[in-house]
Symmetry: D2
Subunit: 496 residues, 4 copies
């Protein structure tokens, strides 16, 4: 089997920019399927391509706005893409969140690189902790891996969510042990893992994947307690790209019907069949007692990463304002009031995420971690407010968002002129501009990028109830009860 | 040109049932376009057909549950389809709303027949009022038309929303006079109308259309003050069916990907070019001062008709409960609590609509009209609660709603077995059942029928602000202020 | 001990009107306490009197608007006060709710007579059911009691909520058996009951009380399964009137500071010590299996009775509109929009309650009962919307609601003129009118009648969770799941 | 008239601690009125005293937790109370907000010292800006004043809100020119001001007041464009302390009935009649064009200061949790869920305020100012979430919050034992502890401190609409529209 050395051999030359990144995705031998067909070259697939474009923006931003998209390397040389950087002070997390919002604004969708970024931060500290207790060498291995990734400027994806089967059972209790990813055999070169990961963001567009357990484990789940890094084209991997709302619009209707023709997100089911991982790329192997802190740290990072949705919110607010302008109603008080409400909700999300970054604290490895309570609060707001923002955007836009003819009708000789005549809005507004803005609102509220703006906002980084459980854990009721008793004039006697 | 007599000649034999209705739609010469192509036979178009199926359920219900779907005729003979009946007591409106909820449950979408129904109720009383003042014969004409429609058991659609152009201008002020439908010429046989109607629900699936003005008019808008009935295949009409979210799923992915393969809604842009209407089918012609009461009555009827969405809510609550069951989490307290919340919101809508029916009052013609305040309140709740119900459904369902592979992947020899393995939920649940339920939730919350369940709930029968204006008009602040002053101990002196 | 005959001897002459009612409350020997002191004559106590005034409005309405406040007697003679009438068709419940809203508008508070009214309706049908199964004579006894009450035109209060102690235990499991009211001894004349009832609305202002169990009971709770009627001045009863927010304002500040000087609610703790009940006044005695239906029917009636809060809402909307007018901002779009929102929420509550009345169904005794689902939905909205209406009222009113000087300051020679100078609003508005309206808003949102408008709206007729449990019971998930499966294309195979 | 020198002569010895502060309030000759009576010594007035106690906590905190309550002096010597410190970096604002939350937790009410603190920050930069343009010496004067205040460790209050009269008119347009505070004469020693300030927080408990204009002014309002500092006992000042909900409970019911007997807020109407201000204490005098930036900076500071309400939220959450424990229901899932929701909302407010501090920016004088958008967003959340937190607290607590007997009843020989018997909750819970907690919840949700927790949260630092106007100003729609157009594929042509 391959060694770490040989596995990295293909990445000698660092990826220089967005075009270079696009080139790097071609010619790989991956088992990718979409809608029942094998996809030989994802970068050429019209439905998948917009998700690659969105990922490419992370490189473009690094070129265009290096202060936001990169971090100066400690070891002189080149700046490092911020998506490959472990945060070592609050400012790093603040800058990360500003970058995420900006990429949300640029793409109007999920640019798919945050899971890997947050996996890096998590592995940095968890490997450190395991080593401190067990005398293992995971942290050193991880740093070596990370340096190679930084040098090559590759995209690292993160893979966490297992299929889970019956949710009332632990991994070792499942009727099919593969329902959680696990070590199925091992030799002196490395380990072999089987199972699957679901809802994997941008996996097909990555170069490497870090796989991690998805929940608290027990001793009996030792085989499932595994973290490692693999190439996305490792033998044994199969990808099934999920369907998204209106995914085929770009094909059947064209750019206008797509709403946002350039950018989209991507989620896939990844199946692992005896995938080999050399020891150098194994970062946890049986230390089940660290699964819970790994999951908690990852979600603490990742829940704040949902600040990206405020970038999408910016776009949607702008689109709604444009639609109002096209209709000639931008000065109506109820329209202005709705735009204010959308902004208020959007900035509330932003403030929760930013507070969680500013109030981050270091863990033993020296990495900084967002404030846990605030990060959960931030994400919990993300599970609510984008839905209301989207509703208000549709309110402002009007029903045409869902009843508008296709761009193909516009091109038709018989009905095209009729559409141009009857869809005219305020004088001076081009009918196609009006249609494009309405299609963008459709795209973000009930179309392809509503997947990312709405449903993913609910479930990504943990569903609403997961945040509530964490908030419950952190809410320190005893302290609060003591404060209440004191003000109520209750003389404290003994415990609690 | 045709007379009313000849126009009705094709409808001698009453439509007996759902199959008969389907047959009645074939062989008509209509100019229907969809996605840039002429659709020769809409009933055979895979994307349009589900909307026809939904309309057909209004006939099926009449056969299967005549007590709900029909009204005994006053003139002995056959029962009349309830969609062709003018309500003459509160019980009629109550039964109408129960029918609408049941059709929502049966189809999970907009069955498209309420606009016409509410147009009938509106014309009954407005023609009566005009005649009473002007000595015209509109009411008699209308009754004759309605009797023919009842006898033939045809589908009548209603057409109200004009393109409007610059919304700050009246019809006669628009740079293009066609932006509101108007009379362009007249002769001794009848009138000719030009213009367009937008967002027309189920028009292609109807036999006749009643067109009406869309807002309060002034004397200068006399030419735009016109109401009439036309056959949907009248010369001069062109239909452009609008695109809906995921409309092509049924074609590109198949029944499972469609989520609800059988039923969908339909909205189209209808262009009128010199369409002839014989005098017998003209129900208002220049009486501009009745436009506002026509619009108010129509919206009062139609806003309560949105009780249909509680039928969709029933389906979505059931789907969410099924998804929870498939995941083995139906007993979790937060899941049960979310189902309760969904039900509470759904029944709140129902109660507002039903109260508006029970408290209906007669107008001069003898027709009963829903309580105006309550009908506006009902619709205003419809602009909010389905969005929260949909959010909760997605919350319960999980992220797979938007990341699931296509049915075609399931059929693929390579990845099909992998999907079956990894998408298995609780023991005893078929993977395809699980997938189908998730696709239905997608369909109703971010797919094709979300168009009807969400966006149409916002804008149909008037956007939220339209209800707020009506609520403001009806809120009788003077009475309320008097009550407050009395309790505050303010001695009343003189006026207000 | 007294017999029913002797107990009714004092009520030979029917109460003719509000003044007569006030007179009827004097000279009774009751153990009433308030703020640590025995209250010899509650009608003369300045803090208690406003609650009596509110109750008296139920008589005044009967005189002034008999069509609303009374029901024609079936047995010719005099009309019966509607608060003593068992509803025997939907119209009765509709009229009841209209009466309740009107009394809410007249008093701006809880007029305290609905618990007794709903107890009457409940006992009518539950006694009928018990007799049907057990061959007992409770229904006949109850009808006799009710006829006497109707003839005497007395106020009947209802007493349900026991102290409950440890809420995780049944009555027979409590360390103190008195924590639920129970039969402590019995002889051939009647039974003796001990225990307590909490939060008793208007008890001191009533003539009779019907006591009932508060929850589902088991066979071991037989002694606690008791329903009966007693005079409020029965030996063994003690009343402790609870403190309300700002209850002493009327004393320490005067009428203006009180906000609503005339009307208030009243709740007391009633302790029962060996209170005798003659058999003729016992309506359940050990039939524990009927406790749950008794509670469900009572709450079904009583939850809809919260329609009264829409009358309070009318007052508060009127007060807010007046405050805006005094400030000269009534034309501001955001003010108008808030008044619309308040109205929308208020009418949504109304519509839920009214729908629950219109869709009432008869039970075996012939009494009509509100629709159970809708009644729970209605009350659940009452636990939410008044809080938002109150918040909006304060928003419109401005901070002066909580920072305003006392009426006594206004009367002070030094500062009175300063207050008149600086509290002047728009020209032409009297400063005292402005102050009175602000005090009324204080009264209803953070003062004495906020107790009834807010907190009681939460907990009266059962706290929010109680409604959620009932909604869960009635939401028929199996039917809804079947609808979802059908539309999802799942072929039904056998059961669920 | 007095010079600055003589005015400061009484403050030679710095206030050392809370007791010293209390002593400093005695023996002053102020015209203070409450409920129609002159209050000779406010510190001895039972209703006013709790507000002084709350203010005293700002000194106690400085002694007990100097790292939070003080700032090391730049000029060596003693640390400065943080309430007298101009923030000169983000950390200062962060620490300020932590201090405010802690004081909220300690007092459960408004401790009244933030207006003065935020006035100091505002004057620092606005005087700097005026001087820079006009060559005046306001900044130097202000620094001198501030240094004296810091040395003396006095309490500075801020006075902003004018009576305003007819809100549609500017100061110079009012029929009574005193409705806005203004310069009425001037001599070589100083100026004389007349008018009034309303809703003045803690003024009676302060040593000095800084008065400022309340809104944007025009050139015609030059006389009203005045900022200065005065002693609270300056000749010509009259204070009328406003009534608060349940203010007299502490007198008529006692400590238990008060709910929070120790702490409360305070607001008063201050009337100015020819109050002299020596030139050294005048910080703006006619520079009307700076009124708007003064108001904007003050509100930007002050809106974030509402982070204090999260300290009150902590207390209320703790009280609700205690009440649940007393009832034996703390493990019920719906109770836990409500506590989580309360915490989520409370921490959302916190995060908005903290983000506004962390992202503060310097202005020309070197002072740091909270981020304006985030500060407005923070306060806007404060106008909503405490109301929902309070509703949930009442939901958990149960109806006894508003129906409970007085402490005096508990002390009564006849009913005291009955109350102890029937108000017993879970075994082991003292009845008085249960009652005290419920009284605290009453105090904070519908009692005296609800004034601060709810109504003041709405209107303090500007009513909701004021924040919406600021959010509208800062929402940069043009940028957002540009982003939307780019993603919609609209080719930019020319401007906007």
């Amino acid at each position: 089997m391959d060694t770490a050395e040989t596995l990295w051999a293909d990445f000698k030359r660092p990826i220089a920019n967005a075009d270079d990144y696009l080139a790097s995705l071609r010619g790989r031998r991956m088992n990718v399927f979409f809608m029942g067909e094998r996809v030989p070259e994802p970068a050429d697939h019209p439905v998948i391509r917009p998700s690659i474009n969105a990922m490419a923006e992370t490189f473009r931003l690094a070129s265009e706005r290096p202060e936001l998209g990169t971090v100066p390397s400690e070891i002189a040389r080149e700046a490092i893409n911020r998506f490959l950087h472990v945060p070592i002070n609050p400012g790093d997390l603040v800058a990360k969140h500003e970058m995420q919002r900006e990429l949300g604004r640029r793409t109007g969708t999920c640019f798919q690189r945050c899971v890997g970024l947050d996996a890096i931060g998590t592995c940095h500290s968890v490997t450190f902790d395991i080593d401190a207790k067990h005398g293992t060498k995971y942290h050193e291995r991880f740093l070596k891996f990370l340096q190679r990734a930084q040098a090559a400027n590759v995209v690292i994806g993160g893979a966490m969510t297992d299929p889970k089967g019956d949710r009332s059972k632990a991994p070792h209790q499942q009727s099919d042990p593969d329902l959680f990813l696990r070590v199925v055999k091992r030799d002196d070169k490395g380990i072999y893992v089987s199972g699957a990961k679901m809802h994997q963001t941008g996996a097909v567009n990555s170069h490497w994947l870090i796989f991690m357990p998805t929940m608290r484990l027990t001793e009996a789940d030792r085989a499932w307690s595994v973290v490692g890094a693999i190439r996305v084209d490792a033998p044994g991997l199969t990808y099934v790209v999920g369907r998204q709302t209106n995914d085929t619009r770009i094909v059947d209707g064209g750019a206008m019907d797509a709403g946002n023709a350039q950018f989209a997100g991507q989620e896939s089911l990844i199946v692992f069949e005896d995938v080999f991982v050399p020891h150098e790329h194994v970062f946890m192997d049986g230390e089940w007692e660290y699964a819970s802190s790994l999951v908690e740290r990852f979600t603490t990072y990742h829940r704040s990463s949902y600040v990206c949705k405020t970038g999408l919110g910016d776009v949607l607010i702008g689109a709604a304002a444009s639609a109002a302008e096209h209709n000639g109603v931008e000065a109506a008080s109820h329209i202005k009031d709705k735009l204010v409400e959308m902004t208020h909700l959007n900035e509330t999300i932003y403030s929760s995420c930013m507070a969680a970054a500013h109030q981050s604290k270091p863990v033993a490895s020296g990495a900084y971690l967002n404030d846990e309570m605030l990060s959960n609060v931030a994400k919990h707001n993300v599970t609510r407010f984008p839905f209301e923002i989207a509703r208000l955007a549709q309110d402002i836009a009007g029903g045409l968002v869902v009843t508008m003819p296709s761009e193909k009708d516009l091109q038709n000789n018989e009905v095209g002129p009729l559409i141009r005549k009857f869809l005219q809005g305020r004088d001076g507004v081009q009918v196609t501009d009006r249609m494009r803005i309405l299609r963008l609102i459709e795209n973000m509220t009930i179309g392809r990028n509503a997947v990312g703006y709405l449903t993913e906002s609910l479930h990504g980084a943990g569903s609403p109830q997961a945040q509530r459980i964490q908030i419950a854990r952190g809410m320190r009721l005893d302290e609060k009860k003591a404060r209440a008793r004191r003000l109520a004039g209750i003389v404290q006697t003994g415990s609690k």
